[in-house]
Symmetry: C2
Subunit: 336 residues, 2 copies
């Protein structure tokens, strides 16, 4: 039932009649009846930033506009297979939207615990999908109540904890491999760490299968106002102004904190922090390339620009979320 | 240089190393160096509405959140091949956003003429991509000025006129064919008619190649406040309240009006009108399926619900635009 059974070639796990993440049905648990909205199979485009070549994996071209759809699809597929009546999630935004949409697709009720200061537009999308949204005083309270208030027949699908989420996220690594781009490095924003842990798992499976020879270095990026992974690896931040643009990354104490640090460290990667002005400049670069990213997604480019010598030559950067969801934040970033 | 050279099997035109619309490079003009953001290759999902099966083609899962990206990609690929310094477009929203993003991707300047009352969020996205936005008193004035103010070295890429746009749109028909779903009917919102004319062209090419035996019936849908195609086929609307939710369809006199009427008529299709309450109900249905459509896209479902006996059994409905772009309108629709 778990996907840790291993494989020796992707052909073994590929389902040719399916697209997106479910192309890898043989490596995903509960794959008989996918709850799908067409997630995965995202474009990979080449871009040049001041003379350095980058591969951008456009994860925002996705059913709810964020990379989380990969995980939500598998998570909700399992919930549907178990026959639960309601799923419960806690989120600042994108994960809650994804859970809401996939629960709706599966015909399962959803309750989403959010911090009250999560963007209104993101809460609105959850409500539109029929979710019950519970506002909490903080992100931490949302996480705690989502678990403590769980009732019989309800399934907690919190993306930061659910191992099935990672089974969806790992498919991004398979797609990179199939597109012929196995990078030296991947650089991505990190909050709850699902993408980093998922990529790590995906590359690990490719490595175990002998399909790649080396684990790409994984680099994480956080805003300088909330950077627990950075602080675990580099010590306490002193004297930062505090970024507000990376709203998707404000998780002070991610549940799998140690695992994320270990995953990054084991690949020889690192964590960087970036400031609001740096995010704003990077966001402008992305938009001027026609890439409709949200501010949170621009953190990775900001970090890449500062650290490209360290990061190395062939780098992949997932562009994690769509900017068309929260135009208010976007405008703020453009004006600043 | 045009794609009217014909083909006898899709294998002849398929470029296996490319994804999305450029998979059909052999049937698209100027295909040597595509200006691409990963458009096309959209998911097709099965859904059931009150006992009737429908195939939804999720066109909003696209680089700028709308089906227009197919056309904009080809249109801008040609502009880049011609080496123009600036492109000019006129649009109420989605086409202008797509033109802005693809111009940015190509490194070409863009000037977009819009009616001043176009949604602020949509104008904001054009500006974010670096476009010059020119506000006009009406949609008609925008169309007129885009052409009359054209300067040397500028290329008019107005989506309603540009034949290269349709070369992109037609790929939706190829994708349906390759997915094994050649429907009896396609039902879609219609404004400037690019999707209908593109689908018609795509199915025509499949028919000429002997790959399909019959042209699917094409049904168009308009809001009851602005329904020129409906009025051309059925006479003047009397006594309607006037819809405001179908903001993407408010083109009073589409340039290719006669062609659109002919295309629909020649397939044995029809045009329907829908009201704001009907759109609101359909939008809620879509959201409760996890489908993040914009109100304009919900018109097709509204029309399908009223006319499904006439429309027939195997119907495909493109869900044309993402609702995450204009949450204000979306909320209005949910409250009404």
């Amino acid at each position: 039932m778990t996907a840790d059974r291993g494989f020796k070639s992707l052909d073994e796990v590929v389902h040719k009649g399916r697209a997106g993440i479910w192309r890898y049905s043989g490596a995903i648990p509960f794959a008989a009846n996918p709850v799908t909205l067409g997630e995965g199979g995202t474009p990979l485009i080449k871009a040049e930033f001041e003379g350095t070549e980058l591969f951008l994996k456009l994860e925002y071209i996705s059913p709810t506009g964020a990379f989380k759809d990969r995980g939500a699809s598998v998570s909700m597929t399992r919930a549907a297979a178990l026959g639960v009546s309601r799923v419960v999630e806690d989120s600042t935004g994108n994960a809650g939207i994804a859970a809401s949409a996939y629960a709706a697709r599966a015909g399962i009720k959803a309750k989403i615990y959010v911090p009250a200061d999560a963007p209104t537009s993101k809460k609105g999308l959850m409500v539109a999908c029929g979710s019950e949204v519970v506002e909490c005083s903080s992100r931490g309270e949302a996480a705690a109540r989502a678990v403590s208030e769980l009732k019989e027949g309800e399934l907690y699908v919190g993306h930061a904890w659910d191992p099935f989420y990672l089974e969806g996220m790992k498919t991004a690594a398979f797609e990179l491999f199939e597109s012929g781009v196995v990078p030296d490095a991947v650089i991505t924003p990190v909050a709850s760490g699902t993408l980093i842990l998922g990529l790590h798992k995906g590359f690990r499976e490719l490595l175990d299968a002998g399909l790649i020879n080396e684990m790409p270095r994984i680099y994480g990026v956080q805003g300088d106002s909330c950077a627990p992974i950075y602080e675990d690896m580099h010590g306490k931040i002193v004297g930062c102004v505090g970024s507000s643009l990376a709203d998707g990354l404000r998780i002070a104490d991610p549940p799998r904190r140690g695992e994320i640090v270990d995953a990054i460290g084991s690949t020889g990667g690192d964590v960087f922090i970036v400031s609001d002005p740096e995010i704003a400049i990077s966001l402008r670069w992305l938009h001027r390339m026609g890439i409709m990213a949200e501010p949170t997604s621009a953190t990775a480019l900001a970090a890449f620009m500062k650290n490209r010598r360290e990061i190395g030559k062939v780098a992949v950067m997932p562009i994690t979320g769509a900017g068309i969801k929260n135009l208010g934040d976007l405008m703020k970033a453009l004006i600043s």
